[in-house]
């Protein structure tokens, strides 16, 4: 009872908003591309995510195997030390079905989506999907923490988030840090219903237990894989992948740090039932990486909104090649102001594109001419 009543003590949470400053006038446009997963030995790689450590090094995670959903899939990690001349380290496995089974003390058929991020103490968090039975709808989420930049990891901890055999909880997009510690992580459910949710997670320092809870963003069978952008201390906008026949990106807003969300509203941007990712830029602008089609994932474009997501203008084309797949974009902004985009490149490699806001502004100018 005490544990239950002590929930009253929780401080009201707010987002730790990092409002990016406008680029300086002498900052030249910059755009560079490289592959993270240089090893083409794997038949399939997918669902990349990236984060920055306090020393400026970048860490990326993704999963790969003979095919999506194969039993030999594993979650890989690569590190890029700070500096223009540095390259990505050779990818190494941090979780596979064998290690996950051992650590979770239960059968794991395969592993899947993961996201990687750092907290205020520069620890790396990995949240990843395991499947015990069935396909993606039989997924559960797990968490691991590294105190040494990804060299060693704590044992996996299962997150019980669903009352029905704890199935069908998946993760895809960036977490939002909360003031005072902890994260708000957009997740989603896709067994029977298909809907977006929020995972609230705290703790993990020293011997402190990881605590968590979950709230729902919307119901029904239409929207998954929310990408959430904090625009103020309690205000955020979520952009959804569409599973409905409408095949357009949808948006919802919150004014109470994610506790309640507005009904999703369709935007003008198309969505071929594929992941998208949003990032806050200077002057309240929002950048969106998405597949600009209702049918295919054969292009990857950037769009920008100056009015909190209501209207959008396309600014740049990152990829366009008929018959190929470029999908699952993931955006972060590093401490030096550069924007890092990782995405699945033809299902063969994870690609890393880095650019700055001056480059985006130049693209906007080019598009307006």
């Amino acid at each position: 009872m005490w544990r239950y009543l002590s929930a009253f003590d929780h401080e009201p949470v707010t987002f730790a908003v990092f409002s990016p400053s406008a680029p300086e006038d002498n900052d030249p446009p910059h755009m560079a591309e490289e592959f993270i997963s240089n090893d083409p030995g794997l038949a399939m790689v997918h669902v990349g995510s990236i984060c920055e450590m306090a020393d400026g090094s970048l860490v990326a995670s993704w999963y790969g195997g003979t095919r999506e959903g194969a039993r030999d899939t594993a979650i890989y990690l690569a590190v890029r030390a700070p500096g223009e001349s540095m390259s990505w380290s050779r990818p190494r496995v941090i979780v596979n079905r064998g290690s996950a089974s051992k650590e979770l003390h239960r059968f794991v058929k395969k592993v899947g989506n993961s996201i990687i991020f750092t907290d205020s103490e520069d620890r790396l968090w990995l949240i990843y999907v395991t499947i015990t039975m069935g396909g993606w709808s039989g997924s559960s989420l797990n968490v691991k923490i590294s105190h040494d930049g990804g060299t060693t990891w704590t044992r996996s901890q299962r997150l019980t988030l669903s009352p029905f055999l704890n199935v069908s909880e998946l993760v895809r997009n960036n977490p939002l840090p909360m003031k005072g510690g902890g994260f708000i992580i957009p997740i989603y459910h896709e067994c029977a219903g298909k809907f977006p949710e929020i995972l609230w997670i705290w703790g993990g320092q020293g011997d402190q237990r990881i605590t968590f809870r979950k709230t729902r963003m919307a119901g029904g069978r239409s929207f998954i894989q929310p990408s959430v952008v904090a625009c103020g201390s309690g205000v955020a906008r979520a952009f959804y992948r569409s599973c409905s026949g409408d095949r357009v990106v949808a948006m919802a807003t919150t004014g109470d740090t994610g506790a309640a969300w507005s009904e999703p509203q369709n935007l003008e941007l198309p969505n071929p039932d594929s992941a998208l990712n949003a990032l806050l830029l200077s002057e309240g602008r929002i950048l969106l990486a998405f597949n600009d089609s209702k049918q295919t994932r054969n292009n990857l474009r950037l769009a920008i909104s100056h009015d909190g997501g209501a209207t959008w203008g396309r600014v740049a084309e990152i990829e366009n090649s008929p018959g190929q797949e470029f999908s699952y974009p993931y955006l972060i902004r590093s401490l030096d102001g550069r924007i890092h985009l990782v995405y699945t490149w033809r299902r063969k490699r994870i690609k890393h594109v880095v650019f700055n806001e001056t480059w985006i502004n130049a693209q906007i100018e080019k598009a307006s001419k």
Binding site: L5, F107, G193, F212, R213
Partner: protein, 200 residues
């Protein structure tokens, strides 16, 4: 254990006794550690369902105890109370938790909420009317407070899909029996009335 006792019951009038129960307990423990596909059998069960709810555990324990000692820990009233609770909780939770509508009742289990107030009211009423299922609900609250199960959500201490299913089957069985007995009663009453009429 309950299944083992039922199998024993096929061959003997007395399913229990401490000796039989201890042998069955030993066999059950052995079955749990038998490796299947490189995993102990018990871990396969945990893979699908990490924990059973406290009421289902209490029902199974009560049945095993009853078979072993002929002492009923949960009497018929408590058994009926737990089945009604399991079915109601299951119907309230699972359809909506799987996406029927926008409302998510599972959220009430994360922190202090109406669920806790409701649980306290039900527990107090059951204890007041001397229904032993009230003690099981007290055990749920204590178990939650001690963090006995993997889940930090109160709902998972109160109900699980197997408990809801078993409760539904039990309530369904009771209702069918009730309807049948009413029918046979009305049939025998009308037969008796007719017989009385023909005798006149």
């Amino acid at each position: 254990m309950v299944a083992g006792q039922s199998i024993v019951g096929l061959f003997r009038d007395n399913v229990g006794g401490w000796r039989t129960t201890l042998i069955l307990g030993f066999l059950a423990a052995l079955i749990v550690v038998i490796p299947v596909g490189g995993f102990p059998l018990g871990r396969w069960l945990i893979s699908i369902n990490a924990n059973f709810s406290i009421p289902l555990t209490a029902l199974v324990f009560s049945k095993v105890w009853e078979n072993a000692s002929h002492i009923r820990l949960l009497d018929r009233k408590a058994f009926l109370g737990s089945c009604i609770f399991g079915l109601t909780a299951g119907l309230a939770l699972y359809p909506m938790a799987l996406g029927l509508g926008r409302f998510d009742p599972y959220k009430f289990g994360w922190s202090f909420s109406l669920l806790f107030v409701l649980l306290m009211v039900i527990t107090v009423i059951l204890v007041f009317v001397k229904n032993r299922f009230g003690i099981v609900l007290v055990a749920c609250i204590l178990g939650y407070d001690l963090g006995l199960l993997e889940s930090p959500n109160l709902w998972d201490y109160l109900v699980d899909p197997f408990f809801a299913l078993i409760s539904g089957v039990m309530i369904g069985g009771l209702l069918i029996r009730e309807i049948r007995s009413k029918k046979s009663l009305s049939h025998s009453v009308s037969w008796a009335t007719r017989a009385e009429g023909s005798m006149r």
